[in-house]
């Protein structure tokens, strides 16, 4: 039986690495970078053997010709981001081995837990994977199991389904036929608008961000699910459904409050959330 040793959720903003590297970043960026450094240390302290990385794809790898809701990647290697993302944002590449035995075991166990994952033997991971991985495991020394979620192409699964899939992944990890220590890293974001009339540099709805992160911090699953409807999220910003990956993490944590969570509000970018459920705090497994 594998052990779930750490769950971490952070933003995947492709602008964030560049903003940290600026000569004089604003205080909220410095604080957020510090938060992420603490997240990196938490993951390292949990000594995982493998990282399950749950993130979205921005219509780079998956498109409306063949759109999976939840997909496990089981190619031998994962590499990204896409060349156009490196050109546009100057973000660093990431390469990792895929723990294919774990990926295959997860696929086999999942239907009994109520989830029929799609799978892929050939894919590239985009910035939603590479940005958080470069923050949390810059050594690139751990094998990963990538899980892709659709938060970009409607209809996306509702929040309650993301929560249920998180709960199922928790059970699947516990049922794995190995004694591996499993860390989970997920990325998403709070309110944000891209290509819409509200687009600006900072959060498109700071009130949504505060309300949601308050409930995430309290482990208030019902309020989060009630608020995170497609319509409400779109009203907060047209790319806000990226928040759903954090709802999945709440399920993965069995609805318990995180050990630590918070959010920073830089003026120069969308809000920067973080959340972690530690084994040490007795929250897991």
């Amino acid at each position: 039986m594998a052990e779930l040793v750490e769950i971490i959720g952070i933003s995947h903003s492709p602008n964030f690495p560049g903003q940290i590297a600026e000569p004089n970043p604003e205080p909220a960026i410095v604080e957020a970078a510090h938060d992420y450094e603490l997240m990196r240390k938490r993951m390292a302290a949990s000594r995982p053997d493998v990282l399950i990385v749950i993130a979205s794809d921005h219509l780079n790898q998956f498109f409306m010709d063949n759109m999976p809701a939840f997909l496990i990647g089981k190619a031998p290697r994962a590499e990204g981001p896409f060349p156009h993302e490196m050109r546009a944002f100057g973000i660093a590449p990431y390469r990792a081995q895929v723990e294919t035995d774990v990926a295959k075991s997860m696929l086999q166990a999942a239907p009994k837990m109520g989830v029929d994952f799609s799978f892929s033997d050939e894919f590239r991971i985009d910035h939603a994977f590479t940005v958080p991985l470069n923050f949390i495991r810059p050594e690139m020394d751990l094998p990963i199991v990538p899980i892709f979620t659709n938060v970009m192409a409607p209809p996306v699964p509702p929040a309650r389904r993301f929560f249920a899939v998180g709960k199922a992944i928790r059970k699947i990890i516990h049922a794995l036929p190995s004694n591996k220590r499993v860390g989970v890293l997920s990325s998403g974001h709070l309110a944000i608008e891209i290509g819409g009339p509200k687009e600006g540099r900072s959060s498109s709805d700071p009130e949504f961000d505060r309300r949601m992160m308050n409930w995430v911090g309290q482990g208030d699953v019902e309020n989060v699910i009630k608020e995170a409807t497609w319509e409400n999220m779109m009203a907060s910003g047209n790319v806000t459904p990226g928040f759903l990956n954090f709802v999945l993490l709440m399920g993965l944590a069995d609805g318990k409050a995180p050990s630590v969570s918070g959010v920073r509000f830089p003026k120069s970018k969308g809000s920067v959330p973080y959340m972690a459920w530690d084994n040490q705090a007795g929250v897991l497994p």
Binding site: N60, F63, M152, A153, P155, I194, G195, G196, E199, N238
Partner: protein, 95 residues
């Protein structure tokens, strides 16, 4: 309405620099075999982002696409984009 086909053109240009260059060089030729309405075809050829937005083009793709193929001043584009699409609110971009 063929939102999917519009999104597909925009994604091709985003993913492939050669496709973006071919679109910029001769948009009409690039689109000749595409299953688009005349309104969509004209809006793509004219890089008429407000019409594409109104028709339900995926805003995330539209945002990336117009910055790639815009022939005018990009700073001016950033300034006018929000203002020009605002009247259309939030069109349904599901395909």
């Amino acid at each position: 309405m063929s939102k999917y086909q519009v999104d597909k053109v925009m994604r091709e240009a985003i993913l492939d620099a050669k496709a973006a260059a071919a679109f910029k060089a001769d948009a009409e030729k690039f689109l000749q075999d595409r299953d688009l309405t005349e309104e969509e075809r004209k809006a793509l050829i004219d890089v008429d982002y407000a019409t594409l937005y109104k028709l339900g083009a995926h805003p995330f793709l539209l945002n990336g696409f117009i910055r790639l193929v815009w022939k005018g001043d990009k700073a001016a584009l950033n300034a006018e984009y929000r203002k020009n699409i605002a009247p259309f609110g939030y069109p349904d971009f599901s395909t």
